[in-house]
Symmetry: C2
Subunit: 371 residues, 2 copies
C-alpha cells in the first residue's frame, strides 16, 4: 500500500544568472518553485541570491542534480557545453536554453551530445523574447517575463513529454509559449530582433559621424530619434556574438532593408509623392495592427491630467479615483524639464472614463481625454 505524497514544489535550476537567468529565477520563485543557480562569475550568483531569487550551487552538477527544469541562460558559445553537462547531471529534468539564436546552438549541442553519447529527448531549445538593452542580474525582475512570447523550438529528438513540461513551466512564470522550428525562429528574429538592433546602431553611429557632420546635431534629436536609437545602448559583445552566429539570415535581412531604403530614396528623388505615400500608408496600417496586439488593448481611454510636482499630488489623484471605484490601468508621468508642474497620462477602462473625469474634476483636476 502506498500513500500519496504531498505535492512537492517544482525544482528549477538556472545556469547563468545574468538579466534573463536571474529574471527566470525570480519568476519561478514567485510561482512557488525552489530554484538553485550557478554562474561562472560568483558575484552574479550572489547578486541574484541577494534578491531572493535562488540558492547558489557550487557547480552545474550540484545545481541540476534534483531539478525538474533546467534553464541555461548563458552566452551563446557557453550554451552547448552547459546543456550537455546539465543533461548528464540531471536524472530527469527537461533542459532548455535561452539563447537568442537556435539553429547553430542546436547543431553544436547535437554534435557534442552525439560525441558523448548523451540522448537529447529531454532537451528542448527555446528563447524568451524579452530582455532589454540592459544586462546583469541587478536589473533582473520577474516582470521581465510577464506576458512575453517565449519561443519553443523542439528538435526532432525532443520528446512530447519534455515539450509539454517546458510549456507548463513557461506558463507558470507568466510567459506565453509559441512553437516553431529552430530554423524558422532564426529567420524571423533576423527581421524582428536582429535587424532592428543593426538599424538602431547604424543610425546612432551615422548621426555622430563626420559624414552627418555636426557636433551639435544631437541638440535637435527629439523623441523619434531617441526611440530609434534606444537599442544602440545594448551590449556590443552580446550583439557581436548574436549577429555573427545568425550571420546568413542577418545579412539577408540587412540587404532587403537596404534595398527598401534605396527604393524609397528613388521615389523621393523622382518626386513620386504617391509612391512615397503608398509606402508610408502600408507601413502605417501594419503598425496600427501591431499596436492593437497584446501591448495595447481595446476598450481603454487615456486622460491627460496636469499635476503639481510635489509630494502628495499623485496620492490625491489616485486616492480620488480609488474612492470613485475607478481602476487605473496605466499611469505615466510626463514631466516638464524645469519641474514645478507635470502631466499624467492615465489609462482607464473606456467604460469608466466618465466616472474618472467626474471624480478628477470634483477633486480640482483638469483632465483632457486624449484617446
Amino acid at each position: 500500500m502506498t500513500s500519496t505524497p504531498p505535492a512537492e514544489p517544482l525544482r528549477v535550476a538556472v545556469i547563468g544568472t545574468g538579466l534573463i537567468g536571474a529574471s527566470v529565477a525570480l519568476a519561478a520563485a514567485r510561482a512557488g518553485a525552489v530554484v538553485s543557480g550557478w554562474d561562472p562569475d560568483p558575484t552574479h550568483v550572489e547578486r541574484a541570491a541577494a534578491q531572493g531569487a535562488l540558492v547558489p550551487a557550487g557547480s552545474v552538477e550540484d545545481a541540476v542534480a534534483d531539478a525538474d527544469v533546467v534553464v541555461v541562460a548563458a552566452p551563446i558559445e557557453a550554451i552547448p557545453g552547459a546543456v550537455v553537462a546539465a543533461l548528464r547531471g540531471a536524472a530527469r529534468a527537461v533542459v532548455t536554453d535561452a539563447g537568442s539564436i537556435k539553429g547553430p546552438v542546436v547543431a553544436e549541442v547535437q554534435a557534442r551530445a552525439a560525441h558523448e553519447g548523451v540522448p537529447l529527448d529531454r532537451y528542448v531549445p527555446s528563447h524568451p523574447m524579452g530582455g532589454s538593452e540592459r544586462s546583469g542580474p541587478d536589473r533582473a525582475s520577474a516582470s521581465v517575463l510577464d506576458g512575453i512570447v517565449w519561443a519553443v523550438t523542439p528538435t526532432p529528438s525532443s520528446s512530447d513529454e519534455a515539450v509539454a513540461s517546458l510549456d507548463a513551466f513557461i506558463r507558470g512564470v507568466g510567459a506565453e509559449p509559441a512553437h516553431l522550428t529552430p530554423e524558422r525562429h532564426d529567420r524571423l528574429v533576423a527581421f524582428v530582433s536582429h535587424l532592428p538592433q543593426v538599424a538602431s546602431t547604424a543610425l546612432m553611429s551615422l548621426a555622430v559621424s563626420e559624414e552627418a557632420g555636426e557636433p551639435d546635431i544631437l541638440l535637435l534629436a527629439a523623441g523619434g530619434f531617441r526611440d530609434l536609437t534606444r537599442l544602440a545602448a545594448s551590449s556590443p559583445q552580446l550583439w557581436g556574438q548574436i549577429l555573427l552566429a545568425n550571420g546568413e539570415e542577418v545579412c539577408r535581412a540587412i540587404e532587403l532593408y537596404s534595398d527598401r531604403l534605396l527604393r524609397l530614396r528613388d521615389d523621393i528623388r523622382a518626386g513620386a509623392v504617391s509612391e512615397v505615400e503608398a509606402t508610408f500608408s502600408h507601413a502605417k496600417a501594419a503598425r496600427v495592427r501591431l499596436a492593437a496586439k497584446p501591448q495595447v488593448r481595446a476598450g481603454v481611454a487615456v486622460l491627460q491630467v496636469p499635476i503639481p510636482d510635489r509630494p502628495g499630488s499623485l496620492a490625491q489623484l489616485t486616492g480620488g479615483l480609488a474612492r470613485g471605484g475607478v481602476n487605473i490601468e496605466d499611469l505615466q508621468i510626463v514631466h516638464s524639464l524645469e519641474g514645478g508642474r507635470g502631466q499624467v497620462h492615465l489609462t482607464v477602462a473606456a467604460a469608466s472614463v466618465d466616472a474618472a473625469v467626474e471624480t478628477l474634476a470634483a477633486d480640482g483636476f483638469d483632465p483632457v481625454r486624449l484617446a
Copy 2:
C-alpha cells in the same frame, strides 16, 4: 505728461490649429497670453477653442490684426501664403512659421514677399522639435512644448528685435530656442528626424513583406521592434510632403545610412567580430551620452514594486509615499497581460530612496531597487 499704461497681456495669433498650432495656443494661454486662431477647417478651430486654447477668428487678417506674435502652423505648401498674409495684416507682429523644413519654405516666402513688396524684417522662420506620430487638435497639449528644443532659423532680413521677441515667446511657452541657419537646420533634421522616420517605415514595411515572408512574424516582435517602428504610424501625407521638400538632404542621409548598414553586413559576413563590436561600442557610447542629456537626469533612483491590479492599490502606494514626504519623480505601470497583478517602476530622488523603501515596506509593499 504721459501715464504708464498697465501691462497688457501678449497677443498671439495661431494660423493653422492642428496638433502643433493648438498646442502652441494652449501653452501661450497657459502663460497668460490672449490667443486668436484661424484654420481653413472650421472644425479644427472649434475643437481648439473648445479646449480653451483660443478665440476663433473669421480670417487670417482678423486673427493677426492686433497680434504681437503670429505662429503659422500650416502644412508646408500653405506656409508661404499665410506668412505673407500675416505680415501684411499685422501692423507690428513678429511672424514665424513652424514648418518641419526651412530652406524651401524661406525661399518661397522670399519670392512671394518680393513680388508683393512686403518687407521680411519681422519674419523669423522656426521649427519646434516636438510633436509625435499623432496629429490633430484633439491630441494637443501645452505639454507638447515643455522643455523641447525650438529651432530658430533667422534669414538675413530678420531684424534682431524680431528674433529677440520670438526667443522670448518660445521661452514663455516652456521651450528652448536654438539658433541655426535654415540650411543647417535642413541638413541636421535629415539625419535626426527625417531619416529615423524613413528607417522606421522601411523596417515596418519590410517585416510584413513577402520577402520577410511570414504572416506570424509579428508574434515574435518584442519591445525593440515596437520602439523602432512606432514612428511608422505617422501621417503618410505629412511625411510625403516633408521628405520631398527636403529631398536632397534626405536622399543623401538615406545613402549614407545604407552604406553604413552594408558595411556592417560586410563585417558580419566576414566574421570580423572586432569590427562589429567596435561599431556597436562607438554607437553605444554616443547613445549613452545622449541619454545623459535632458530627458534622463542624474540623482534619481528607480524602484520596482509589485501591486495588485485593483482600484485603490496605486492610491495606497502613492498615499504612503506622500505621508512619508517622498516626491514621486516618475511612475510607470508595467502590467502582466493577464491582469490580476502588475509592477510599478517608481523614480524618486536618490536622496529619498531609503525613505521610499522604508515607507513602502511599512505599507506591505515589496520594493526592489533597479537603478
